[in-house]
């Protein structure tokens, strides 16, 4: 019985030690638009109302030389950090800050350019970075 309680206590201490000093932050803006969602768009055929019916109203409309351009924007920003100063909390009233942290801000866009008649002229995604892990604190 005593051994069981001791092993449970040790498990809690180990779990606390593993996550000690960790900080995980995530900011998600708007819904992600994936390539399969835009497969219906055909250059020279699809119109702006048809695009909006499928994807919703864009976040921005710009004027280009040939017609209007619509922008859909979204981001999934992940930040994590470890404060190694937490170790000092166990034996010192003062815990210095020794933090390693990293943030990956991924602002992504999907552009649709229309001609003067409001028909899709061209469309595409901005450069897409590989999906970053959430636990990603090493800054070097």
């Amino acid at each position: 019985m005593t051994f069981q309680w001791l092993s449970r206590g040790a498990c809690v201490v180990v779990c606390a030690a593993i996550v000690a000093g960790c900080s995980l932050r995530r900011v998600v803006v708007n819904d992600v638009i994936a390539p399969p969602q835009v497969a219906f768009i055909q250059t020279g055929a699809t119109t702006m109302p048809q695009v909006v019916a499928q994807l919703g109203a864009p976040d921005e409309i710009l004027e280009s030389e040939f017609g209007l351009a619509t922008l859909y924007q979204w981001s999934d920003t992940k930040a994590s950090g470890v404060d190694f100063g937490f170790i000092a909390r166990f034996f010192s009233p003062y815990s210095p800050s020794m933090t390693l942290a990293r943030t990956g801000i991924d602002m992504e866009q999907f552009h649709v350019h229309y001609d003067s008649q409001g028909v899709v002229r061209t469309f595409g995604f901005t450069r897409h970075e590989p999906v970053r892990p959430l636990l990603w604190f090493w800054p070097f």
């Binding site: 000690a20 819904d31 976040d59």
Partner: protein, 128 residues
Amino acid sequence: MTKTYAVVFIMATLLLTQGCVVTRGTLGEPLREESIAQIKKGVSTTSEVVALMGAPERIVRGNDREIFQYYYYDGKSPALLLLVLNLVRMEVKSDNLYVFFGRNGLVEEVLYSKRTPNVEFKLWPFGD
């Protein structure tokens, strides 16, 4: 006896919610769907749209048209700030309305989508 239960309940609530942070932020005013429904293509004028929706947040010109943009952002962010571990997540979504006016000053097209009802207080930072 009831007093003891109340004190225990308050203490338990304080213990369970310590380290919790719940934040909400909005930008702009919510777009009222009943007002948007009153905007009629080929009928409504700029002044009628302004009377219904207020002045637009942005005006874009393109293709000989004037486009009024209205937006509303809603963000929800729960956080758990414990002694050894911090978890923070924030979700932001937007509602957008575009009203296209032709050279005659009448509404040609209305583009609208509402995403803010899908914003949730999600704490767990992993997954979707």
